[in-house]
Amino acid sequence: MYQESEIVDLLMVIFLTPIMVATYRVIKVKGKEWFAASYVMIAFGFVMTVVEGYIAPDLLNLIEHVTHAFAGGFCLLGTMALFRFARREVTGAMR
């Protein structure tokens, strides 16, 4: 069975994600592709959390945790790109 908080998470993902996709095209942040991939993984994990209450609970639960692992990796790559760019910008290496 599902919890109320999981449904709230899913609803927010469903309604806010399209708006965020539109905004994503406009902003200029180094490594934004990795951050976007991380977000997609987390959102997918939220979906799996709800769905596991109805079908294949063990498999979908495993998948949910795997998506978190991927999301962590992508997030790390995104922050690395951002960190390097910001450092170069500050030290004046960027011309």
């Binding site: 999981e6 965020m20 406009v26 942040v29 987390i42 978190h68 962590g72 997030c75 790390l76 910008e89």
Partner: protein, 487 residues
């Protein structure tokens, strides 16, 4: 450790690393800023918390954090949305600021350009109100007062209103009265888009061209005066020309008449002298014969001069018509030269005619003969005894060349143009003035011009002279003349 715990541990490591890196990222970097760094750190921190809770739960260490995990997850998505929107807002504000700065710079540049222009530039409406004026135009604009915008000065206002109402206008000249003084302005106007304005507006550019207009008027006046002067002078010249023509014709007629009247008594003198020398009236002694010979020689010279004068008068009067007929050029030259051999012999001068080949051509034999006779006579006259005169004929592809060369006294280069003018004689230093009136070469030149021949001279003082007559001919005409002559 089961699989889920392992996966959660990986997620925790990833998020922790990301959290450390984002906290280490310099917030003063323009591409990051505190507006991105801390919200992003908060979002990653939530994920660290969730991962840590999962690890502890699935490892069987503690479930104490699980109660708060749901709150953390609920906060995550709104936080990410906040990061995106705030970032977008910051970037848009930066872009707007940059655009405002660029607009300000462009405006300043435009104002500098407009203020530097030597013409007055203003934005005015059809009521004479002025909404903008550059530095040059400000002296023609009244200062704004309470409730009333700037206005074009009273003198210029009608011109501005007319330019605005008739815009587009390009460099229209308008007269303006400013403080009772008449001035001229050049005005151009371009209408502005209506944009809801209550009255029609236009950009009006103007320039004071009073000095230029005054200058144009002076120039026009000067041009008219000049034209009148030219007309007057032309009339005077025409009248003078008519007088000169009349005088010339009278002179020619007089010369012809006098020359003609002179021939009659001269012929009588020569005729009676000849009769006396034949001793028809009675026998002469030696002294009488000698003196009569003087009379005869002098009479012949005088007759030659009169004939020359008559020829010139006749030629100038346009009565020297060309009578063309086929001739054998060599034969014609021989006939001309033969009588001169006696004169040359009397002066101990060798006169030769070198004509190895000939050509048949159609020309006026009398006029050509006279040219050659005059040149040869001249050569004999200006050659010292013992000298020689040679007449040569050379036949070219399309012209025949007759050269009369002597080894006489020659002609100074400065005098070589002058010798072809009537009544001009060149007197060499240490020599007596030659006999004759200076018409021989003038007649030659005149006749060559009439016949279409070229006449040139090459000479140097003391080295003799060579006169060259170039007779152009057409081969077909020459062949035809030849056949006609044979017939």
């Amino acid at each position: 450790m089961n699989a889920i715990t392992f996966v959660d541990a990986l997620a925790l490591l990833g998020y922790l690393g990301a959290l450390i890196l984002i906290l280490a990222t310099p917030g003063r970097a323009r591409s990051v800023g505190s507006g991105l760094k801390y919200p992003l750190a908060a979002a990653i921190g939530l994920l660290v918390f969730v991962s840590l809770s999962n690890v502890l739960e699935h490892a069987g260490v503690s479930v104490a954090l699980d109660a708060y995990e749901d709150y953390a997850e609920v906060l995550f998505v709104p936080l990410v949305a906040y990061i995106l929107f705030s970032r977008t807002t910051v970037e848009q504000l930066a872009a707007a600021k940059s655009a405002r700065e660029a607009t300000r710079r462009e405006h300043a540049l435009l104002m500098n350009v407009v203020d530097t222009a030597p013409s007055g530039v203003m934005v005015a409406d059809e009521d004479g109100r002025v909404w903008f004026a550059n530095s040059e135009a400000r002296s023609f604009v009244s200062a704004p007062t309470a409730g009333v915008s700037m206005m074009a000065t009273e003198g210029l206002r009608p011109a501005v209103v007319r330019a605005v109402t008739t815009a587009p206008v390009r460099m229209a000249r308008m007269r303006v009265d400013i403080d009772g003084e008449e001035r001229w302005f050049s005005l151009s106007a371009t209408p502005l888009a209506a944009d809801g304005a209550s009255s029609r507006q236009a950009v009006v550019a103007f320039q004071d061209i009073s000095a230029q207009v005054a200058s144009d008027h002076e120039l026009e006046q000067y041009r008219e005066d000049l034209e009148k002067q030219v007309d007057r002078r032309t009339g005077e010249l025409l009248a003078l020309n008519r007088q000169l023509q009349t005088a010339n014709e009278t002179g020619q007629r007089l010369l012809a008449n006098i020359s003609h009247e002179l021939r009659t008594p001269l012929n009588s003198i020569l005729g009676f002298t000849e009769i006396m020398l034949r001793e028809t009236p009675g026998q002469l002694n030696d002294e009488q014969r000698r003196q009569l010979n003087f009379v005869q020689t002098s009479g012949r010279q005088l007759l030659g001069m009169v004939d020359s004068v008559l020829e010139v008068a006749r030629g100038d009067a346009g009565r020297g018509a060309v009578a063309g007929a086929p001739i054998d050029l060599r034969e014609s030259l021989a006939q001309v030269i033969a009588p001169l051999e006696v004169i040359a012999a009397e002066r101990n001068i060798t006169l030769s005619c070198s004509c190895p080949e000939t050509v048949m051509l159609v020309t006026d034999a009398d006029k050509l003969g006279q040219v050659v006779r005059n040149l040869a006579t001249n050569a004999i006259k200006f050659t010292e005894p013992g000298g020689s005169v040679d007449v040569e004929l050379e036949i070219g592809a399309d012209e025949a060349v007759v050269r009369v060369a002597d080894d006489g006294i020659g002609i100074d280069p400065g005098d070589q143009e002058r010798i072809f003018e009537a009544f001009e004689q060149v007197v060499s230093e240490g020599r007596l003035r030659p006999s004759g009136v200076g018409l021989g070469l003038a007649i030659c030149k005149e006749l060559c011009d009439v016949l279409g021949y070229g006449l040139e001279v090459q000479s140097a003082p003391g080295e003799g002279s060579t006169f060259t007559v170039r007779i152009p001919y057409d081969v077909e005409t020459a062949d035809s003349a030849s056949r006609e002559d044979l017939a």
